[in-house]
Symmetry: C2
């Protein structure tokens, strides 16, 4: 399967770099990287010894720290944020198993412009900048995939620019709920991740009180349900319809 994907190279299929890295392999201590890229040998993209286990709440990337490489999420959930005006937190995105963290700093910046915190116990794999550059240099397929990955992230980011500049707060909160739903899915009728109202606000670009107010209204309208911190989406079709004019970008 891997080789088949690799062969189809210059294509428009959305394929995430590192999609060939399998979690189970790294979990059992000795890590052999299952590769998409047949041209890569062990020495090109060596497995770095420091697989990192993060407890819930641990911040493993600090804003402003020098960029030495990037993280690959093997297992768990992560929030990526930056600190804004008056220390107000801006959540850039959420990440789960199979995604890359810290790639924004890879291109041109010397220091991380974001911080990253584990939302639950999380297993990470770390790749140094130098080993990545070696791999990129040697493997056009890999570089091409990285390019597409960035292009995709750019689309998602621009979609957010649009929503922030044109949607009402209510719409942005709904948009956030749908994003979380796409990203983490549901479990027994509730979103498969527990976030505080403030975290919803920090992603939606508003305040905690606004989120609380709008959640209250949505509950009265039977569009969502809330049991404490756990939120469930009752009528996803109506929610989608409400923001359908605004073509939000699918980012599962």
């Amino acid at each position: 399967m891997d080789s088949e994907v690799a062969k189809s190279h210059p294509s428009n299929s959305i394929r995430r770099p590192f999609s060939g890295l399998s979690c189970s392999i790294c979990e059992n201590g000795s890590c052999l990287i299952k590769r998409n890229y047949t041209a890569l040998s062990e020495s090109d993209l060596p497995y770095e010894k420091n697989n990192i286990r993060c407890k819930k709440g641990h911040q493993f990337i600090m804003e402003g720290a020098p960029v030495n490489g990037l993280f690959f999420v093997l297992k768990g959930k992560v929030k990526v944020f930056r600190t804004g005006i008056n220390g107000r937190e801006q959540i850039v995105r959420f990440a789960k198993e199979g995604e890359i963290i810290g790639h924004r700093g890879f291109g041109t910046e010397e220091y991380y412009s974001i911080g990253a915190i584990a939302l639950e116990d999380t297993l990470l794999c770390y790749f140094s900048k130098s080993s990545l550059q070696k791999a990129l240099y040697k493997t056009p397929e890999f570089t091409y995939d990285m390019m597409l990955f960035y292009a995709n992230e750019l689309n998602r980011s621009e979609s957010k620019v649009k929503s922030l500049s044109q949607m009402t707060v209510r719409e942005r909160v709904i948009d956030t709920l749908l994003y979380i739903n796409r990203k983490f899915g549901e479990n027994k009728g509730f979103l498969n991740v527990v976030l505080s109202r403030k975290e919803y606000a920090d992603y939606a670009g508003t305040t905690e009180e606004q989120v609380i107010r709008i959640f209250s209204i949505l509950k009265k309208e039977h569009l969502i349900i809330a049991k404490g911190k756990r939120i469930g989406i009752n009528n996803i079709e109506l929610l989608k319809k409400e923001i359908s004019e605004h073509n939000y970008f699918l980012d599962s």
Copy 2:
């Protein structure tokens, strides 16, 4: 010089793809592409016959049109936008000589999510998707540069997300003025591009009236001057200072 840049390949220097294409060459009819990428031959990235001359106000990319390639701005100024809610226009970015237009659609989308209009008489060079993919496939350096270019755009876009979600309208308008100043520069004390108040608003994510109101205030505070549509920045240090907490990303 070109070959020296090309040799330094896996580096973090910000180098725009196509930076080796020189405007003067294309202007005189017969176009020989001056290349950064020594590995590329004429057949890899052929010069497409349709160099396009756009009159001021001409829209050369329509939203929703199929993506067949991308445009390289040889000369002139362009605004890139998308139409949002209630037909409200959202200006995504401005582009000048040496920049790429339509690259967002290149990655994974089949249709342009943006439109592009020439702000003045503009000369464009068009590259088809297929010839680009061939060139990308063959030339890791080129792909790497494209990757960095996307990474850069991503940073700029995320910076905008931050400003939209955390700045006041006044701050966003100032931010826009500084962006225009960085992008197009000044000429005899005035910004080197003429935009309507509505265009400033569409970039800042607010309304025409707000821009007018804030321009009035800034004039009274002697921070800017306005002679009709032409805007000049009087005290750039104070303006920068006002939004200095918010690390806006330099995008010249």
